[in-house]
Amino acid sequence: MEKKQKLLLGLTSTPMILIYVMAVFCLIAALRQPAFLSPATLINLCRAGIFTMCFAICEMVVIISGGIDVSFPAIGCVAMYVPMWLYNHDMGVDSVFFFFGVAMLIGLVFGILNGVLVSFLKLPPLIATLATSSVASGGLIMLLGTREYTSLPPSLDALYSVNLITFTDPATGFKYPLTILILVPVFLCIIVALIMKYTMLGRGLYAIGGDKNAARVAGFNVIVLQFIAYIFCSVMASATAMIYTTLMHSSTTTALMGEEMIIIAACVVGGCRLTGGHGSVGGTILGVLLITLVRNNLNMLGIPTSWQTFAVGLVLLLGAVLSSIQARRIEKMGKI
């Protein structure tokens, strides 16, 4: 009986439901549009998911620690724009290390700012990172203007042309390259998952997200842990922004603005709780996959692309309803 109940609980858990939804989505798409089953779809999906995945992992770490970070798009914009501006004003060297180095350094500075605001000054994280976001975005436009850089420096262009595999559609002859940069989210997910599960650092992040006071009493250094979460988020988001520039051949002051809500949504759909302490890399991957799938393949279902925002909204609603039902079900099971 108990085994049966556990099995039933497992089959109706949030991650499983996400998988069902995705399966149904793919099935309908494949039925309507056999081309959906081509490897090209998968490659396109991977390409589209690179940034979302990286940003979501960053955000997930902050959410687990009991905070929230809405400043990473703005920080990312600074981090993608400043190196290009420097390079175009003959103040940079043409090297992948320079571009990514400067970007991550910028991320570090803003990460420290967020860390100071949240852990030392104890500001509410939403307000603190909103302030950081405005300062970063506004400061950038004020100081460096609003150009758009569309040509990549040779070193980044070289990085762009490195592909893991290239799929050539036998029917049309179109080439679908899969960039080597796909490995960034892959390794990021593996490393963060291991850290969260098997190190005291990861468990500490869960602990402070669960109960800050209990964590302090237990002997965790709450301030340092919060700092680490915000710095990780900013630095990694900045690197991701540089990947964005490389893949999109574009660097503007506002390219990523507005991304924060969809990223937070992906985390929540994947099982993170905004109150902190809950969430996992696996769940976040599912959340990102679902949102990327819906964002990029609606036309495969025969739904016009103009419905995209609406459909993403439905996915969000699904996530919210799922977690609320799950919470109520656990409550109903009673205390043990």
Binding site: K197, Y198, T199, M200, L201, G202, R203, Y206, A207, G209, G210, D211, N213, A214, A215, V217, A218, G219, F220, G276, G277, H278, I330, M333, K335, I336
Partner: protein, 494 residues
């Protein structure tokens, strides 16, 4: 080994910004003994625990642990010496599993960088078998009952090689059966030679468990000794600093009828309950859990209205079908669980005091701030709520003071009938006496007072008439010449 002193404090003083929280406390705890630390709310118990656990460094005085004098002790030093505190909120992680909650602190103490989940499970299983706990180690803490959360906290303390376990008011949120279980666990830990200090102010529980007792009052050491040296009178005197007058309540006889209830029934709860109250009467309603004692109060306040019967208040027959009926008829009600039902814990004393009478302050579409503040100040003075102003949140008040705020809330509605369910649960002795004095005053002013309680000594002392319920029926209305033992027998129908 039995009489070996593990912890010794002498002349501990500590003040915060000029307020003396501790003014010279001595304490001696021996290995393998259960020591109760008693005192009214605000007597310095919590500060003393923090001094022992290294959270606060005392301004003066010495602490010896295991014969070693401790200087500039930090929390980690105290833990290293085997002192473990289980706070009232247990300081557990709701989002982590039972096993991890038990093992995490130990891993932190060892300064390990990595987590071995096999070790975590082993450590948890060992600790749980030591205290005889049987909880699924993979369940998240948020799903556990209070008693099991406490068990996890105890397991965690054991893992960390506790030599002295300090429990801060461990029984407040437990049912009677859970308390029994807790005592069994504590006794088994005592057998293992662990010293245990329990902070508690409930006399009956102290008698059940303690070997020795130390009493504090206003931050000062009052007395200490074997539990056999304390009878109730000495305990009360040492706790409150004065003898609480043990006179039974005896109002002047009056023929002025306040409330008459005839044949009140509610299907499945109680049947055919009739009683009459006269001016000055404080009526007690008692009975075992499920006897219908609480339901009568709920019926009179309209929470779960009666199906049939007559209610006559001040000579007028009234119908009560809902809470708003009750309020319209000027009836006040203090629920049993005031924390969840009677108070807005995070709002100010003023907000709580005017909560039931806010309409009266609505003047021309605006709230009369001045009037509300004046009313609150008047009640603070009148029923002696210990608060500097109407501003502090109720959460910051002690149990007794919080209860007074609930009472003030209803008094501010000028009730004609005031029903209190368990008015002194979780309230310490001194404040208890004050609350009863307030009720007696109100009764003398012609307000009908009904106290629903299972605290028999309290009823016998403070109500001049007691209605006994059994299985939904009134088995008798008696005056308070009865002693609590015979009343107890009546309750179970023996």
């Amino acid at each position: 080994m039995a009489n070996e002193v593990f912890l010794k404090l002498s002349g501990i003083k500590k003040s915060f910004g000029g307020v003396h929280a501790l003014r010279g406390v001595d304490l001696e705890i021996r290995r393998g003994e259960i020591h109760c630390l008693a005192g009214e709310n605000g007597c310095g118990k919590s500060t003393l625990i923090k001094a022992i656990s290294g959270v606060h460094e005392p301004d003066e005085g010495t602490i010896w642990i295991d014969g070693e004098e401790m200087k500039h002790m930090k929390p980690m030093d105290a833990i290293g010496k085997g002192i473990q505190v289980i706070y009232q909120d247990f300081a557990v992680f709701p989002n982590l599993t039972v096993a991890e909650n038990i093992a995490l602190n130990g891993e932190l103490k060892n300064k390990s960088k990595f987590v071995s989940w096999r070790d975590v499970h082993e450590v948890a299983a060992r600790a749980m078998s030591q205290v005889g706990a049987n909880i699924d180690p993979d369940v998240r803490l948020e799903r556990l009952s209070v008693a099991n959360k406490q068990l996890v906290a105890i397991c965690r303390a054991i893992v960390n090689d506790a030599k002295l376990l300090i429990l801060d008011e461990p029984t407040t949120a437990l049912t009677a059966r859970e308390v029994e279980k807790l005592w069994a666990i504590i006794r088994s830990l005592k057998e293992k030679g662990i010293a245990i200090m329990i902070v508690n102010h409930k006399l009956d529980e102290i008698y059940q468990i303690a070997d020795r007792l130390t009493i504090l009052r206003n931050g000062a050491y009052i007395s200490s000794g074997d539990i056999s040296e304390y009878d109730q009178a000495r305990f009360t005197r040492d706790m409150t600093g004065h003898d609480i007058v043990e006179d039974k309540y005896a109002p002047e006889k009056s023929s002025e009828e306040v409330l008459r209830v005839e044949h009140l029934s509610r299907k499945g709860s109680f049947e055919d309950v009739s009683f009459t109250m006269y001016r000055g009467d404080v009526l007690g309603i008692t009975g075992l859990l499920g006897s219908g004692r609480g339901e009568i109060g709920e019926a009179l306040f309209g929470l779960a209205p009666a199906d049939s019967g007559t209610i006559v208040l001040n000579g007028r027959t009234i119908t009560i079908k809902s809470v708003s009926d009750a309020i319209a008829n000027e009836i006040g009600y203090v629920p049993e669980d005031r924390l969840t039902q009677g108070l807005f814990m995070d709002r100010s004393i003023q907000d709580n005091t005017i909560a039931a009478s806010i309409r009266a302050y609505m003047k021309g579409g605006k709230l009369d701030e001045k009037g509300m503040e004046d009313a609150t100040n008047r009640w603070i003075k009148e029923i002696d709520i210990k608060a500097p102003s109407p501003k502090p949140a109720v959460r910051t008040l002690s149990g007794g003071n919080a209860q007074k705020v609930v009472i003030a809330k209803w008094l501010n509605t000028n009730p004609k009938l005031f029903i209190l369910d368990g008015p002194t649960v979780g309230v310490d002795i001194g404040a208890k006496a004050e609350i009863h004095a307030i009720l007696h005053d109100l009764a003398a002013k012609g307000i009908g007072i009904i106290v629903i309680s299972d605290d028999l000594p309290e009823l016998v002392q403070n109500c001049n008439r007691i209605l006994v319920m059994k299985d939904g029926r009134c088995t008798g209305i008696i005056d308070n010449s009865i002693d609590e033992v015979s009343l107890g027998k009546m309750l179970i129908g023996a």
